[in-house]
């Protein structure tokens, strides 16, 4: 079996005249956590629905653990654990009954194996306290955990999670990310999210799509280098700077963008943006020396994934 557990080529899906997914290639190997990013309506969920066999692509092919999902959907679906968007569950069922139902449907026929997986889920996903409660009485966080547990019950090779941390509080989000990290070693995981810090926290690769097209497929830390040509330097000054001096500094510093604005009472910030190679902190400090400013902080500003995301999805 090749390392690529998901191998999708030229996926296209339209709904009437609307092209939801446009010729996307995607492969995910064992041990990878791929973050699927994109604005609302970008085609993230549609792609996930195709990968899990819920929707058939108009064209293109999907291989799950080397099994063509079109030719043998039942075998291919067996390799996948899936949390659909909104984590739908049978709300009238108790947590244990629901997980047991999914487990049996996933082929955990052996009673001993099923009960051991159920107790694993109760421990691993922290469901013990709500184990015998109807799902409809649970908080949003617990409902989401039940959704994750049903996706993990059969210990699948591939995990596809559509917004797994949506609606969780910060502690729960942290727990969920730790869980994803812990189980990622021997699985191929795809998660879609709106939260960019999540990608930085758990993903080994980020895929950005918008209008159904794949715009970026990089390690999160490489996205900035590849897609943002400029960097920024911030210099903080504890004096008030007169307007005349502001203009003088602005005209003497030959960079792409130079902004000087008050940031706190009597404190000013000089923000310089240019290509990375043009920005040298020592050089800037030397250039500013003659103005005898009370500089108390000078730093490079790291581009956040937010900037990259905005830049990529807006320039398309």
């Amino acid at each position: 079996m090749s390392l690529k557990l998901i191998n999708a080529k030229n996926l296209t899906k339209s709904f009437d005249d609307f092209i939801a997914v446009d010729n996307i290639d995607l492969d995910v190997s064992r041990g990878e956590v791929v973050g699927f990013l994109g604005p609302n309506g970008a085609g993230k969920s549609t792609t996930m629905k195709m990968l899990t066999g819920f929707l058939e692509p108009d064209s293109g092919s999907i291989e799950i653990c080397n099994v063509d999902i079109k030719k043998d959907p039942l075998q291919a679906k067996g390799f996948i654990g899936y949390l659909p968007e909104g984590a739908p569950t049978y709300s009238d069922m108790e947590v244990c009954d629901f997980l047991s139902f999914v487990g049996k449907m996933r082929g955990l026929d052996n009673k001993k194996l099923l009960s051991s997986r159920l107790s694993d889920m109760a421990d691993q996903i922290n469901l013990k306290e709500v184990w015998n409660r109807p799902i409809e009485t649970l908080s949003k966080g617990f409902k989401r955990r039940v959704g994750i547990a049903q996706a993990l019950i059969h210990d699948p090779d591939i995990l596809i999670l559509d917004e797994p941390t949506d609606g969780l509080d910060p502690n729960q989000k942290h727990e969920m990310r730790s869980l994803i990290k812990n189980i990622s070693k021997n699985k191929a995981i795809v998660i879609s999210t709106h939260i960019l810090e999540e990608v930085e926290a758990v993903c080994s690769r980020a895929i950005i799509i918008a209008d159904g097209k794949l715009l970026a497929n990089e390690k999160p830390e490489n996205l900035g280098n590849k897609f943002l040509q400029t960097d920024a330097v911030s210099i903080k000054i504890s004096d008030k700077i007169e307007k005349k001096l502001i203009n003088e500094i602005k005209s003497s510093l030959k960079y792409k963008i130079v902004n000087i604005e008050p940031n706190k009472k009597n404190h000013y910030e000089i923000l310089i943006e240019d290509k990375k190679e043009n920005l040298n902190l020592n050089k800037i400090m030397t250039e500013l020396k003659k103005y005898k400013l009370n500089i108390y902080e000078a730093s490079f500003l790291k581009n956040s994934l937010d900037d990259v995301f905005r830049k990529i999805t807006q320039q398309k």
Binding site: K49, F54, L74, G78, E85, P88, V102, M105, R106
Partner: protein
């Protein structure tokens, strides 16, 4: 049990238990028993007729099922689509046929429970007189088959909408058309302008005319074939519709 049947059974089991997880089951059983006996004793004049049979009981079943079967079946697919669980269900390693059959069987067995619970009326009539128990038994089987046809129709139509109330209304109206197709008034209206083959086709599609034959103790192959093929046809359409409508 092979894997195919096992998964169908797991779906069936979840669905059947689902009726009893909410008050729906007890309310339905209560309403069915109250209405069926009420109609038998008051509208059917069970005692005044002075006959030891259950024709007054069974005669109301097509009309009762017109309302009650859509009430049982309306949630089968409409609710899955509304709550999004259809996505969960259809990404499990299971075929649409297994899902449709499992769900249908659960609702059908639930109506069997309702019919079994009405059996005190059978015991009563045996206590009061000397009825033809063969006819009664055949009528029970016929009634259950007819309920199956109503349920298959409802299950099929419930895939068309996410709203249970709409599923209920369209199923009741469709059921009404199928019952009325055998009504003398409808047939004579059609007979005045339509060729004989069309009138006969409409009559042969009628739940009422088939069920009337059963009630008289005539349970021939054509009647069995009618209800079974009605069930199979509706479920086949149901399987196709689930595939088409799942992502709407």
């Amino acid at each position: 049990m092979n894997t195919y049947l096992k998964k169908t059974f797991i779906i069936f089991d979840r669905e059947l238990k689902g009726y009893f997880r909410t008050p729906l089951a007890s309310i339905f059983l209560l309403v069915f028993l109250a209405l069926s006996s009420g109609m038998t004793f008051f509208l059917g004049r069970f005692f005044e007729r002075d006959q030891a049979d259950l024709s007054a009981f069974f005669a109301w079943h097509p009309w009762l099922f017109l309302i009650l079967m859509p009430a049982i079946g309306m949630r089968l697919w409409a609710e899955e689509r509304r709550s999004g669980t259809i996505e969960l269900l259809m990404t499990l390693p299971v075929t649409n046929t297994q899902l449709v059959i499992g769900k249908f069987l659960a609702s059908w067995i639930f109506t069997l429970i309702a019919l079994i619970l009405s059996m005190p009326i059978w015991i009563t009539v045996n206590y009061l007189g000397n009825p033809d128990n063969n006819v009664i038994f055949i009528s029970y089987i016929g009634s259950w088959l007819m309920a199956g046809a109503f349920l298959a129709l409802t299950s099929c139509l419930s895939t068309l909408t996410k709203n249970q109330v709409i599923a209920f209304i369209i199923s009741s109206i469709s059921g009404f058309i199928l019952v009325m197709a055998g009504f003398g008034l409808v047939l004579s209206a059609v007979r005045s302008w339509a060729p004989i083959w069309l009138t006969e086709t409409i009559r042969s599609m009628s739940f009422l005319s088939h069920f009337n034959r059963i009630q008289m103790g005539v349970f021939d192959f054509s009647t069995l074939l009618f209800f079974v093929s009605m069930i199979v046809f509706c479920l086949w359409i149901n399987i196709q519709l689930v595939q088409i409508k799942k992502a709407d």
